[in-house]
Amino acid sequence: MSKINRRKFMKLAAVSGALATGTGASQTALAGSIKLEEGGRGFSPSTRKELKAIPTACWQCVTRDAAIGYVEDGRLKKLEGNPNSIRTLGKLCARGQAGVNQVYFPDRILYPMKRIGKRGEHKWKRISWDEALDTIAARLKPLRDAGTPELFMYQYGRHKASQAATMYDFMAAYGTKTIGNHTSVCEAAKWVGQESLWGGMYDNWDYDKTDFVVNFGSNQFETHTNHIPTAQRLIRAMVDRGVPLYTFDVRLSNTAAKSTRWLPIKPGTDGLVALAMVNVIMNEDLYRKDHFKYMRVTEDHHASVDEKIAAVKANVAKFTPEYAAQRSTVPADAIREIARGFAKANSACLVSYRGAVMHYHGADSERAMMLLAAVTNNLDRAGGRVMGVGASWNHPKSKPARVSKSLHINDGFPGEAAYPTHHVSHRVFDMIKDGHEGRPQVYWWSCYNPTYINGDNDRVAEIFKDEKLMPFLITSTITYDESSSLADIILPDVTYPERWDWEDMVSANQIAEYYIRQPLIKPLGEARCQGDVWADLAKRIGFELAWSSKEDFVRQSCEMTPGVKEAGGFEYMKKHGVWHDPDAKPNYGFFEAKADVSGDTVILDKQTGVYWDYKKAGVSKSEAESKGYLGVKGAKSAYVAQDIEGTPRRAYPPNTAFTKSGLLDFYSDNFKVKGFPAFPTYTPIPEHEKMGSDDMIMTTYKTAVHTHSRTAHCKWLVEMKHDNPAWINTQTAAARGIKNGDAIRVKSDVGEFATTAYVTEGIIPGVIAVSHSLGRKYSGVFASGKSNPMNGGAEADPDVKNIWWDTHGTHPNTAIPNWSDPISGTQRWMDTVVRVAKA
């Protein structure tokens, strides 16, 4: 039979269909229907017994994917995605799967520790939890009783959902508002830029329906705030529907490599390229009028659409593609081509992240991105950039303290940042050193490593060591790292597979998903969940919380939250891990919703077109009318609607620190009053304008298998990536006599570090890029090569013998200043000017 091939079989198939459907054989052997499950069950490879599958949620990064832990005989064996999650569709990245390492890494801190000897001498004594909490209470109670609760400062790196809610509840009941976060080193500029326009932040991209994607500075396929839910959807869009992706990045990240085209771009010019794209779209009449009525682009809130179009054209007239090309290195014809594609697509997503915004005036770059989305009507509609939707949990709230105060050390020095709405966390220690705004007597940090993650980190460490500046240091942690090594008391925290939480991360399909984290195993050693510690500590200080433990907090929340309660509450969530309203519709276009303005105390402000409730604002009608919406302090909290061409619509309520109408404030009085351009513009980075011929720009980035500081002790991850050589362009390297693999020194005005060169065409000339996450002084034997100096288990892990690598990377932060974007206060990760030479 020599004439057999696939085509012939297909012909045979076509004519044998009737036989195949059952008329051929008199009886079928198989019955039932196929149910293939993509995950959700696990089996032991050795015993073949089914493992216990417990739904939970990841914590390796802020994406917090729903996951399933598989447990055998009380030991966590593996973590996989939860296939029932509508956010993540059962996927879990490498970081997430390595969460097992968090539990069992040998240098983990398992007992409360008290420092003996000087800070940094690494001398410790194990103490009981009672002694630890009594010691802490003895410090905190007098501050509260004296009416100075603000002298207790708490700072976190990663706290979200119920981990944050329980902490804030304790702090509110205690009375301190001196609470620091980390957002300024994350992406504060992006949020400030967005808040000035459409209110509460956290954008999302509707990849399931989009037709075109432009990406400025995001490495979404490797790492992003909502990485797994969005990356897989973007990939599916590209593969299934042929959606093009254009990525602007200084280097050839894995996202850029998978894009339709990578556009190398000079750091700090993303906003300029976005404005040039607006220039093309406006001048070629490719804009869509739909969203203009929701935009404010001149001083006049009541400008007509045609006046607005003319104003936008005028504002971007200077930013021609040629102008942008000269400054950004992106070719002018590429700017035109991509702008046209973006505008002509049925729908398009504009993505922006750290590469575009962690700069001087990064917040304004974000406003330029939003402008590009708005003039093409790609805001808040299917297929476009949309406002993120996440679960909204109800939860118990404790009675707040009678006295509640804050030290003003969270927002940078006076005048440093105009709108530090997410604080200026990287400058807390400079503020403490300065002392003008006071200093906390007790400083407690958790899920954070301040002497590692900030810029100029060696100097931060020196402030930490000074007991006159920072008298008492407490940390809740699992690792002995650069910061916890300087604490006075170390409390052993649980790892996330050992604790309860409810979770609320942004959905990728605009339908909120409610999900929980629950203990997969008994906590190791004497580790205790911080939520449990708060409840215990409160009693020792002399007040009660409305919940007795983190589990109790989660249980109450499940029973208090509509939808979750009806689905079965706490028991349902424990069993399934995830829930969403099956009747929920994707949240698009809320801004178009008509609003009821019939209330007796609702009036229309003539200047802004805002409908607002003067009674809710606490003023009389006459005062409201005479002063107007913008003239009454706090009026924005009484916002009801925006007049849009004669119809009151919800529009974009001013629900953040910015006082504005319900229009997208592209012309911003808030910016103008602080001396910044009112309309998005391009402001060159001052230091870059003064660069000498030998100077370069240093940027940083993250990789697929690490987060900023919390993964280097995970052996599976650090085996994959344990070195971070500096990316340098071939021509740039050659000009300095540097070859691939050479030892080099990178020096800035604040510090220097040694590393090796990775010479590549995958980065633009004149820029050097070094990733975060490595160069650890401590954090365990896998991360740094050094074991925890306390008693404990590095030797107990047989894999210590299998460490085949002898590099641990470098830490670029020693050469990066601790400096801020004057608009948002964001840390300017991507602006450092350096000199690079062969070592």
Partner: protein, 217 residues
Amino acid sequence: MGTNWKKMADNASSRSHIYGLLAAVFREEPSAALVEELRSPQMKEVFGEMDIKLGQGFHSASALLVADVLAEEFTRLFLGPGRHISAHESIFAEVDGDSGSLWGATTVDVKKFIEATGLAYDPEYTGIPDHVSVEFEFMQRMSAWEADQWRQKHRGRAEYCADVQRRFLDRHLLRWLPQFMDAVITEATVPFYRSMAELSKNFVLLERASFVEEAAA
């Protein structure tokens, strides 16, 4: 550029039809009705193009007579009494040192594999779980389900289903089918079963090659 959902669905559907044909042929003695279907003009044309020879009498004699002849051959080849070729994987494939017996360790493996997908054995079915026709029917059902997923644009499920089929081919069908069909080719005295054995063997080997190509792509 993008996924050609219809093409993917049609491919899977075509595979399902072929497996269904093979399941029907090897399940039991062919009925007169099946003979009529197999010698329809369309089938005859395709068999001709594929150089599949079913014997002179297959097309000319009455369907009842052909069915009788094939029934006798089917019994001699696959049922006995006396020397025959047992159409069960456990006879040919060895697992844990166990082979050459009916209802061996392999049979259990096949049954668990099939049942893990959600299917069950029909209570009316009196055969043994790893009969060649059952394995063909399983592949028929799986590829039909895969086709349905492609039609609904459920890429994840379709690809997962294809992956399960690949695994079944690797772990089961391909481990014994070529050897079984070679035995049929050698022992058959009636062209029909010789040709059907050649067709089956070639098809399953083509399946393997296709999966290898897809994996490489």
